[in-house]
């Protein structure tokens, strides 16, 4: 066998005869004998031959499956490498972003446009319907309290004792509506485009701008007293049943008959409560009980009836309950006992 001049590793790896010997030497004895003779003749090449054999053996060895621990080790190394890359520079971020597929980018862009358009549309709708953005306010007065309320349109309401007013902090563009339980005096700013409506139980009071008093306590007839301008009172369930009031006129809605009655009234007495005055004008026992209960948060119980008809005339301004009761008791002839909020009234018999 005539061998080429094999002087380095590449020469051996590119020599077919050498490769055949390494791969098939065990099966082809002729090649093996040739190379054994050649090695005896060239002992200085032993190291090179051995190295070339190792390379070829490695290349020819089958790929072994990676065990679990090796896989975990490799995985953590890769993740660690990714983390390092992310925190290193923004240019790397650009590379990551560029990894997002274009079709997803389009979806993201479309979703963003829809969200922005929705937000803008909601803003526009809110401008058109102010009341959708308005909050309901409920103002309640405890016994003895009188409070002034300023509404968003500039109108003012004086809310009486033991009364509740519900209203929106922003009226809408077509009407101004409030709900009253109890008594209140309204000073309404004129607005021809937005009627002001007071809803009080069975009665609606509709105005454009004026001053009036509404008294609508639960269980009592409803009274609307006009001091200025013009108002229309309407039965809630029957709009045909209505009445128009002029100044110094009062509409009384009788709940038992669902009818309106128009009467004159004395403004001084009708609005005395605004100065925290409790005014009795020919008041019977029911009116006395109702007034005292509203102003002093008590529950009055008549144990018996007086011997004569009661038509009390009196007025009290910010007086303590016991003084008021003593004065009325002395006038009408009764003793009373107060236990917490309960008051028992016992009419006395006349001396002979």
């Amino acid at each position: 066998m005539k061998k080429k001049n094999l002087s380095n590793l590449t020469d051996f790896l590119s020599d077919d005869s050498f490769v055949n010997w390494v791969r098939y030497g065990n099966e082809n004895t002729a090649i093996a004998e040739e190379w054994d003779i050649w090695l005896e003749q060239n002992p200085d090449k032993q190291v090179l031959v051995s190295e070339a054999k190792n390379y070829l053996t490695l290349l020819n060895s089958p790929v072994k499956p990676m065990d679990v621990s090796s896989k975990e080790l490799l995985r953590s190394k890769i993740l660690g490498q990714i983390g390092q890359n992310r925190s290193t520079s923004s240019s790397d971020d650009k590379n990551i972003r560029s990894m997002i597929p274009w079709n997803k980018m389009v979806w993201y862009a479309a979703a963003s446009v829809v969200i922005i358009a929705s937000v803008l549309a909601l803003r526009v709708l809110n401008v058109d319907t102010d009341s959708s953005n308005a909050s309901l306010i409920v103002q309640s007065n405890a016994a003895g309290d009188v409070t002034k309320i300023s509404l968003s349109d500039g109108s003012e309401v004086l809310l009486s004792t033991s009364s509740t007013l519900q209203y929106l902090d922003n009226f809408d563009k077509t009407k101004r509506e409030v709900t009253l339980i109890g008594e209140a005096f309204f000073n309404v700013v004129p607005d021809p485009n937005r009627p002001f409506i007071v809803s009080s139980g069975e009665v609606l009071t509709e105005v454009l701008g004026t001053k009036f008093n509404v008294k609508a306590y639960v269980g009592e007839d409803i009274e609307v007293s006009l001091t200025e301008g013009k108002v229309k009172v309407i039965e809630n369930d029957n709009s045909d049943n209505q009445l128009v009031l002029s100044p110094s006129e009062r509409a009384i809605f009788a709940k038992h008959s669902s009818t309106f009655e128009k009467t004159p009234f004395e403004e001084e007495y009708a609005t005395a409560w605004m100065d925290r005055k409790i005014v009795f004008r020919e008041a019977d026992l029911n009116v006395i009980k109702s007034q005292l209960e509203k102003w002093y948060d008590v529950e009055i119980n008549y144990l018996n009836q007086p011997s004569s008809e009661t038509r009390l005339n009196a007025e009290f301004v910010k007086e303590p309950f016991d003084k008021v009761l003593k004065t009325i008791g002395s006038t009408l002839g009764f003793d009373f006992e107060v236990e917490g909020k309960r008051v028992e009234i016992d009419f006395l018999s006349e001396e002979n």
Partner: protein, 121 residues
């Protein structure tokens, strides 16, 4: 440190005493002003009906009448000297003397009635 704390306590007590004193004197002074002296006087005009007299007393003093309209005849008129300065107590005594009306005073309220009632024991 201790002296600073003591100073704060003394200051707080002084403020509280001052506030309560002011409140007390204010309340006393205000209530004293509201009461009409029984020796106060009024001058009667020509209207000497019972309700006319009540109205004149209310207008010229801090007194307020409480009465049961069922007990009082609004046309009831008294023969009283007008253009005269009447002491309130004197005026009411005179009305009681010539009518069945009885008066009792609770601070600045005058309760009017025509009956006497049996007090319960």
């Amino acid at each position: 440190m201790l002296s600073s704390l003591n100073l704060k306590v003394i200051l707080l007590r002084t403020i509280l005493i001052t506030v309560f004193s002011v409140l007390f004197f204010y309340t006393y002074a205000e209530s004293a002003q509201e009461f009409t002296n029984p020796e106060d006087t009024i001058s009667l005009s020509f209207d000497t009906t019972v309700l006319g007299i009540f109205e004149q007393v209310e207008r010229q003093t801090n007194l307020k009448f409480a009465y049961n309209a069922s007990d009082i005849d609004p046309t009831l008129e008294f023969d009283l000297e007008i253009e005269k300065t009447w002491m309130i107590s004197e005026l009411l005594d005179e009305i009681s003397r010539v009518s069945e009306l009885k008066f009792s005073r609770i601070d600045n309220y005058i309760s009017v009635r025509i009956r006497e009632y049996k007090k319960k024991r």
